[in-house]
Amino acid sequence: MLSRTAANLFWMGRHLERADTAARLLDVGQRITLLPNTASGYQNEWNSLLQASGTATLFAEKYGEISQENIEEFIFFDRDNPSSVMSCIERAREAGRIVRTALTSQVWDALNVAYQDLRKLEKTPCDRIDTGSLTDFTTSHTSTVRGAINATQLRNDGWHFMNLGYGLERADATARLLDVKYYVLLPRIEFVGSGLDTYQWQVILRALSAHRSYHWAYGGDITAARVADFLILNGESPRSLITALYEAVWNLEGIAKRYGETVPTNARDKAREVLGRLQAHDIDMIFDEGLHEFLTWFIGEIGTISTLVHEDYLLGGS
């Protein structure tokens, strides 16, 4: 397979997952600002969320003032924001168009429809749409594409590259959302265990569509340790770090097996190593080490794996 084709499939997966993350981020922010008694008002929360996604400076330059409309515009429709839903869907579609022949017509249809519908939505006056429906719109379209991929694509190397993109992006996104909660939203230690703390955890779970599954898995109360365990180490949780990383490893194994020994496997080796270290942790160790420090380490490792994927496969050995 051409390296460029593989790269487009990989980034198609990443951008679709990233669009999903952007929509969920909007949801988190929206719900947190609905809580009246926060420390310094909702502006602060939005700013924290933007900072977590690395786009605060861009937002400040372009919009200045934080308002619901500005935030929605920025996170959802703004093409100048590389992480906006619009940017991500547009790039995923562009990547898909370039490798059309590597996609089934169902996948292309789903991707194309998502893009066309988004452009229609863009023309709808903003007082006619609420934040919740924007999030629903995105997750429903990205799920349709994902479903078409799983139902119709050949299980070949291209499929592995697409799913590898999904896996790495999801691992990265969950880690960042967690980090937002722990490090940015709740900077003062005396808040831990407060009603606000619990509420924020709930919001994170909700944003990851994991609210109910959490209750199924743990029953009872929401505590920081249990939620973190659920989102980091629980292999049944679909968006946990360990599940996302496991999927990345599985896809890298598939590629390595297919390509044999002549092709380097640094990405696979690294991913296996990180997975091994994750498996060796329990949640108390992570909290002892510091959740933020742990997440920073993890996000760095995901970046390294992504770089190694490029070096192993996407540069074409030149």
Partner: protein
């Protein structure tokens, strides 16, 4: 003017159209609109669009598809086929000659100026003989008809003729929508084209290639108007569709970057123009090509289809000499006729053309796509005078031809079937053999009375049938 109608002789239906005529007559009232909508939905879905530049609006347009097929009898086709193959052989012989000893120039049959001062003449490939001596591997020959047995060549396309995907998709869609028609008529298939193309490309692999050759299609990228065709052909041939950046030169070979490391490429079917092939040899600012490609080509490490420099054979000025090439290289009389052509750099021709502009078609020597031309009988006085000024400014840039009585073929319009003018572009493949599939792309001028069939000027396409015996 009297136009040859390919379906009717007076009120009589000609034999090849007999069953089609029944089909049209027994068609239920709203059946046609329904099928037309179905065809359009299919085209949109598959993504067959073309881009029209410089006119604003939606750049992705559907080419209008007419459901009424155009039909040739086996005997008619055989005759055309012989003429096309003959012409293809002569054109390749000419290319081989002008990049070698140029006997035809020495013999005084073609003026040296027209060859050597031609923009498409590539000094960089003088003396290089590509595998099997073939320069142009896919030749699209544009034909028009004026009478039962009277065909003329309008122009040759030796570089990278486009449109073959329409030929294949038109047939695909007709077969899907009207299987009954194909059972009732015995129609020669065209869907072997991608296999023949691949075989042709493999047959011209360079001498340094010892295994089964690896072929690729080289595209300028997904912004190109013909990108759909590029990916379509690559897909049907089962070869990679590459961009310049996917290829690199190492030592004496060209490689593509794959997930399993570099893989050698032996034959490149390029759909980018000569000046962009290699920034080290041609335009240094080209981002579309592959640096060093021409060095590998020169030393026989890779084949490029069509060969750089092949364009010198399909120039409108060289065109007038193709019948001469057939006589000179093949010792045969040309089976296909040229349209009479006045070349405006000759004084006599210039005088004649300027006196008769209102009756003639005038074209730019290097123009294409139906742009920059004058159709005298269809133009107003002002348009003619404006064009006259352009000619006076640079006579060497123009040729003129009589307005041909292009044949018509019944075409679906609002009110039902009506005659519209058509042309035909068959695609001739040249490798170890010379072959073409029975059929081609029929373009139809959808505007009543219009003689311009180009898709950029309101033309559409039809499925083209060759009946078997």
């Amino acid at each position: 003017m009297n136009y040859y109608n390919e379906m009717f002789e007076g009120s009589q239906v000609r034999e090849p159209y007999a069953r089609l005529s029944e089909w049209v007559e027994t068609m239920p009232a709203d059946f046609r609109q329904m099928k037309q909508a179905e065809a359009e939905a299919l085209f949109r879905r598959i993504g067959i669009t073309f881009a029209v530049y410089g006119e604003g609006g939606d750049p992705d347009r559907l080419i209008p598809f007419d459901m009424m097929p155009r039909v040739f009898e086996q005997a008619e086709w055989r005759k055309l086929e012989r003429g096309i193959k003959q012409r293809a052989r002569a054109l390749n012989a000419f290319l081989r000659d002008v990049y070698g000893r140029a006997e035809i120039v020495r013999a005084g049959r073609i003026p040296a100026r027209l060859v050597y001062q031609n923009e498409a003449y590539e000094k960089a490939v003088v003396g290089i003989v590509p595998p099997r001596g073939v320069y142009s591997h896919i030749i699209g020959i544009d034909l028009v008809r004026t009478a039962k047995d009277q065909f003329f060549v309008l122009e040759d396309n030796c570089r990278t003729p486009s449109g073959v995907s329409y030929m294949l998709e038109n047939r695909e869609i007709m077969m899907r929508m009207f299987p009954g028609l194909f059972r009732a008529n015995r129609i020669e298939p065209v869907d072997q084209y991608p296999d023949l193309l691949r075989r042709t490309l493999e047959s011209v692999a360079p001498a340094k290639c010892h295994d089964r050759p690896t072929c690729v299609v080289l595209t300028p990228g997904h912004f190109n108007s013909a990108y759909y065709e590029h990916s379509f052909l690559a897909n049907l041939m089962g070869v990679e569709l590459v961009e310049g950046a996917d290829l690199f030169v190492d030592g004496e070979f060209v490689y593509m970057r794959t997930t399993q490391g570099p893989r050698r490429v032996d034959v490149i079917y390029r759909r980018i123009d000569d000046p962009f092939l290699d920034p080290l040899c041609f335009r240094p600012d080209s981002m579309l090509g592959v640096p060093g490609l021409m060095d590998v080509y020169r030393s026989g490490g890779v084949s490029i289809c069509s060969a750089p420099g092949a364009g010198v054979a399909d120039d409108k000025a060289i065109y007038t000499f193709v019948p001469e090439m057939v006589r000179f290289y093949l010792g045969e009389e040309p089976l296909l006729q040229n349209v009479q052509t006045w070349t405006l750099w000759k004084d006599d021709d210039y005088r004649y053309v300027m006196e008769n502009l209102a009756d003639l078609v005038v074209k730019e020597v290097h123009g294409s796509g139906g742009y920059g031309m004058l159709v005298g009988p269809k133009s107003t006085k002002d348009e003619i005078e404006a064009f006259r000024a352009k000619i006076e400014a640079n006579p060497g840039n123009y040729i003129a031809q009589p307005t041909l009585a292009l044949s018509t073929c019944p075409t679906f319009v609002e009110e039902g079937l009506a005659p519209r003018h058509v042309d035909l572009r068959p695609y001739c493949l040249c490798g170890d053999r010379i072959e073409l599939v029975p059929g081609g792309l029929t373009r139809v001028a959808l505007r009543e009375g219009s003689l311009v069939v180009n898709s950029s000027q309101g033309g559409g396409v039809k499925d083209t049938w060759v009946l078997s015996e």
